[in-house]
């Protein structure tokens, strides 16, 4: 503006083009006429006011024109002052007049210059800067909806910060150059001009200037903050903080999936970069609440990532907890970072309190613990090596709510990963043992174990083979079994067997720890223990396994398995068995164990009796040629003998015997003493039901049996024996024309069947003629003949035949007809036939395996009786639901009803198909009328 126009403007103020000119310039406010005064004179109301208004207008116009902001974007570094006219006296006057002089705004209807400047700034910002920023942010967000492309984050924030800083500088420069000094000057001048300097006034004025400054800054910061999309901003910022945190701590497993680029020496740089950015943001007013929230958020994520990246790896070798390291990291790594950031953001207070430190450590521990608990199942099945992880969890358990989390999470893991039909019982048992061990470490009081193990125990109880596996594993001798036996699909659990090897600890003398008042290490029970909870005194793994069932059920099962085991056992001392019984007696108490003890005593006594009988034998039974050593346990039945203690009605025996019997001519006796018979005498009352298929054993054995019987009667005072031919085993030596083979551990029916291929008394003379004719003398027999000869069940005959055919001893010459293979040919057909037969024999043998009758056998046998029971029950009591029938059966059937609802339902189905009962729905059944 040239001087003329300025002069002109001083007289006739030109309305500013950049802003509105206050109204009084155009139309002077004449004021209103006060009632009672004459109308229309400009001098009537407030001439001085009018005068002031005009003067103010002039000053306003001058000042605002001077202070107006440029209408275009300023270059990066160009100072705005360069574009601005120099401040001259007139402007200064106007500023002084408006800011501190008479022209100061009065009342609310007059705008103050500061207010005007503020709105000028707003306007400027809205018109010029905001579009730039919006473009900046929108560009990045266009593609990615809300997610910022991560690599842009730094740029974006940096750019934003730069722009804002520049405009802020622009705004503040004018403000502090042209407005603030006058306010302060006023203070000084007013205080100096005051006759008596009044410090309070001075202070108040300085305060006023400060507060003007402060509120101006607040206003522009508000404008800035409003302009930046707050949600996106906080996300971006939190990402940035997270990113730099990750870099600082070298975190590998980041939540954003960014693979860290190894930049060895950029830690310092990135730290600097972060500090700069944060400080810049703070300066432009973006460091407030939003940034703090973003910071908190990012630190939260950082903690997670750090733990995931650095501490989730389990140290499988040193077996140590990582918790101390985490605590250290929080104290020495995390806290300094937080303090740094807080300082940049000018938080108050900017240092970390000890309580905060502690709560962060707990947070970290909580995260670690939760992450560990999610994998607890894996730790458990890798127990021992995973001890470090378990110790971490142990620390974690100290945190409130941790136990609930652990219980529920682990239960889920168990039900998903363990308790399903695909897992073998052995596997479940092994895992259960691991759980017991791991949880013992986790919480020695056992409350937690009790809680998590409940579903497993329930599940194991429902499995049919659990008891069998446990007991047979307990009976397994770890030392002489090869490792192959203990596969996860197998029937034996290595873990149980190894537990069994551990020495007995006599815990009876251990004082009750709850009452031991001298125990320095005493700990109260955990708060979540139920009031009745009592920690079991003995607490080894076997105790947990043995208490899976009700005592009585378990002992019944034990009786069955032990019986089977004793009959097969090869160990003449029965050490494992004795040990097992001792162990169970210690664990479960002695009562009801009578049956098992009797069984054990039976087999031990049998040995003694065998010895004494053999000693009393006058001359060993000698028979030519073939040696055969079947061991036949049999059970003799004897009418009530008053001599038996407890009035036991039957005294059964089982025999093991060794005999020689003649066969095809070319046999040499392999023991001069001939055959020996070892019998096992079993007290049938105490033994479980044993299989007693009846068939004839070879004549020689029969003779031996008779002899044995008579001697036994002599020793045992007229007690009679009932032989159980289906039990026991035997060994034979077969001499063929071209070979001699020995077999042992044969079942009695296999022995009998092969013996039947001996020439019978009628046929004998043909065969006796000599070796040369042996081949011709090969005897062939068919199934029906054998059945008749041996009075044996067809099933057994066939099974034995298949067995021998599999061994290439017999050959099938026609349908159901077999003959002895005297000379082993190498022809493929024979080999094939043998292989096929062997396969068949194995399948059949499995079906025949147990010496003790299985439950399903019992069910089959007693089916008729049970069905009569059920129909009697339904007749007497009307329609009943299955569960009630089951309950009644358990009460009423003499000797107990060892079955469950499933079997009852099976029986009812059979009865229904026979038309005896009718299903009424709702699981109820009634008699068909």
């Amino acid at each position: 503006m040239d001087y003329q126009s300025l002069a002109f403007a001083s007289v006739f103020p030109v309305p500013s083009l950049s802003h509105t000119t206050p109204t009084p310039i155009a139309t002077p406010d004449l004021g209103y006429t006060v009632p009672g005064q004459s109308f229309g004179s400009p001098y009537i109301s407030n001439a001085s006011g009018q005068h002031r208004a005009v003067r103010r207008n002039l000053a306003w116009s001058t000042a605002t024109r001077f202070l107006s902001l440029p209408k275009q974007i300023v270059g990066t570094n160009a100072s705005f002052d360069a574009l601005r006219l120099p401040r001259n006296l007139e402007i200064e006057d106007a500023l002084v007049y408006l800011l501190v002089g008479e022209g100061k705004s009065e009342g609310k209807h007059e705008e103050s210059l500061v207010d005007w400047y503020t709105s000028e700034v707003r306007l400027h910002f809205a018109n010029l800067v905001r579009p730039i920023l919006e473009e900046l942010w929108n560009k990045v967000f266009d593609v990615f909806w809300y997610e910022i492309e991560l690599r842009h984050a730094w740029e974006l924030l940096g750019h934003t910060q730069e722009v804002l800083q520049r405009v802020q500088h622009l705004y503040l420069q004018s403000f502090s150059d042209h407005i603030l000094p006058f306010l302060l000057q006023n203070n000084i001048s007013s205080s100096s001009s005051t006759i008596r300097p009044n410090r309070p006034t001075h202070a108040a004025d300085a305060y006023a200037a400060d507060s003007t400054d402060w509120s101006f800054r607040r206003d522009i910061h508000a404008v800035f903050a409003h302009c930046v999309p707050s949600q996106r901003f906080s996300k971006t910022l939190s990402y940035i903080l997270y990113d730099s945190g990750c870099k600082l701590f070298r975190i590998y497993a980041r939540q954003d999936g960014v693979q860290p680029v190894p930049e060895p020496d950029d830690i310092r740089a990135s730290r600097q970069r972060m500090t700069d950015l944060l400080q810049g943001l703070e300066q432009v007013g973006l460091g407030g609440d939003i940034a703090q929230k973003a910071f908190a958020h990012s630190m939260d994520k950082l903690l997670d990532s750090f733990i995931t990246s650095h501490y989730l790896k389990v140290d499988w070798f040193s077996k140590k907890s990582v918790v101390p390291q985490i605590r250290m990291w929080i104290r020495d790594g995390f806290c300094p970072l937080v303090e740094l950031v807080m300082e940049c953001l000018r938080c108050d207070p900017s240092n970390v309190q000890p309580t905060e430190l502690q709560s962060w450590q707990e947070m970290a521990l909580g995260r670690l613990g939760r992450a560990r608990v999610d994998d607890l199942f894996d730790f458990v099945i890798n127990w021992d090596r995973s001890k470090g992880a378990i110790l971490d969890i142990k620390e974690y358990l100290k945190i409130a709510g941790a136990k609930q989390n652990l219980t529920s999470s682990f239960s889920q893991q168990i039900s998903r990963r363990l308790l399903h039909p695909g897992a073998t019982t052995t596997y479940i048992l092994n895992v259960y043992i691991f759980i017991i061990r791991a949880f013992h470490e986790l919480e020695p009081k056992g409350v937690l174990l009790e809680r998590v193990a409940r579903p497993i125990r329930r599940y194991l109880k429902d499995r049919d083979d659990t008891a069998r596996i446990i007991i047979s594993s307990l009976l397994t001798n770890l030392k002489d079994e090869s490792g192959t036996k203990f596969t996860s699909g197998g029937e034996l659990s290595y873990e149980i067997a190894s537990e069994m090897q551990q020495p007995f600890e006599n815990r009876d003398h251990e004082p009750d720890s709850e009452l031991d008042w001298n125990d320095i290490n005493w700990q109260p029970l955990p708060t979540d223990a139920s009031p009745e909870y009592k920690k079991s005194k003995v607490e080894d793994v076997i105790w947990f396994l043995l208490t899976l069932w009700e005592r009585e059920d378990f002992i019944n099962e034990l009786r069955n398995i032990l019986g089977d085991h004793l009959l097969r056992c090869q160990d003449p001392e029965y050490q494992n068995e004795i040990r097992l019984l001792e162990l169970i007696k210690i664990r479960l108490g002695e009562d009801k164990m009578q049956a098992c003890e009797v069984m054990l005593r039976d087999v031990l006594d049998s040995k003694r009796i065998n010895d004494s009988i053999r000693a009393s034998r006058p001359s060993p039974l000698r028979t030519p040629e073939l040696t055969r050593q079947p061991r036949h346990p049999r059970i003799p039945r004897k009418p009530r003998t008053p001599r038996t203690p407890q009035g036991v009605p039957r005294t059964p025996l089982s025999g093991r015997l060794t005999t020689s019997t003649p066969h095809v001519p070319s046999w040499t006796p392999n023991a001069p003493a001939g055959t020996t018979l070892n019998a096992q005498i079993l007290s049938s009352f105490f033994w479980p039901l044993l299989r007693d298929d009846e068939f004839l054993v070879p004549a020689q054995i029969q003779t031996l049996q008779k002899e044995y019987e008579s001697r036994f009667e002599r020793i045992k005072g007229m007690r009679k024996l009932r032989w159980m031919n289906a039990l026991g085993d035997g060994a034979v030596t077969l001499d063929f024309s071209d070979r001699t083979e020995e077999y042992d551990k044969l079942t009695p029916w296999q022995v009998s069947v092969i013996y039947a291929f001996q020439p019978q008394p009628g046929e004998e003379q043909n065969v006796r003629k000599g070796k040369a004719k042996a081949k011709d003398a090969s005897i062939s027999r068919n199934v029906a003949e054998l059945e008749e000869m041996l009075e044996m069940d067809e099933l057994l005959v066939r099974q034995a035949l298949a067995f021998w055919a599999g061994k290439s001893v017999l050959r099938e010459t026609g349908p159901d007809t077999y003959e002895v293979v005297e000379i082993l040919s190498t022809s493929a057909s024979d080999t094939d036939a043998a292989a096929a037969a062997q396969e068949l024999a194995e399948v059949q043998a499995q079906a025949q395996a147990g010496a003790v009758r299985s439950q399903s056998d019992v069910l089959l046998e007693k089916k008729e009786v049970y069905m009569t029971f059920i129909s009697g029950m339904l007749t007497a009591q009307g329609n009943l639901p299955v569960n009630r029938i089951l309950m009644m059966m358990r009460i009423m059937v003499q000797g107990g009803f060892p079955f469950g609802a499933e079997e009852v339902r099976e029986l009812l189905t059979v009865m229904e198909s026979e038309g005896k009962v009718v299903a009424l729905g709702g699981d109820s059944f009634g008699i068909r009328k």
Binding site: T868, F869, S871, G872, T875, A876, Q877, M888
Partner: protein
């Protein structure tokens, strides 16, 4: 009598065992036309059924009975009543039975099966000398067809009886 007093201690368990055994025997060797079964887990109350013997007015009819065993059983007789209404000289209208072996002639060698068999034969051979139902005894002697008619009229099938209970 001496025996029964001597046995009173722990009689409950003994009775239950004895009854369990009898039940088992009856289940393993069922007798044609006779069933008996405990009412509930308390073994001392049973329900039995007998079928009327052929060639008697009761042929093809089924009768329900209740049996109750005292704790002194088998040294005292069980209390037996007909639940199914029956027209019989030795049975009154509330089902009480007049049979010597259930009264003074009881002996511990009897068992449930024996009692029920006796009752079954009583149907065909009433003891008209000491009737509980005089009219029936008279009709048996004098008007057999009428007796037959009354037997049939009074009888109810067990199902009807059950329905009546509800």
């Amino acid at each position: 009598m001496a025996l029964s007093t001597g046995r009173s201690n722990g009689g409950g368990a003994t009775v239950a065992q004895r009854l369990q055994k009898e039940l088992m025997d009856m289940m393993t060797h069922p007798t044609e036309g006779i069933t008996a079964f405990p009412d509930d887990e308390n073994m001392t109350k049973w329900t039995a059924t007998i079928e009327g013997p052929d060639d008697t007015p009761y042929a093809k009819l089924t009768f329900k009975l209740s049996m109750e065993f005292a704790s002194t059983y088998p040294y005292t007789a069980p209390t037996v009543m007909f639940k199914t209404p029956i027209y019989h000289p030795n049975v009154d209208f509330s089902g009480r039975i007049c049979l010597d072996i259930l009264k003074d002639k009881w002996s511990a060698i009897y068992n449930i099966n024996a009692v029920l068999l006796s009752l079954q034969s009583l149907l065909g051979e009433p003891n008209n000398a000491s009737p509980l139902n005089g009219e029936a005894a008279d009709l048996w002697e004098k008007d057999f067809p009428e007796f037959q008619r009354k037997v049939t009229a009074r009888h109810k099938a067990p199902e009807e009886l059950d329905a009546g209970d509800i």
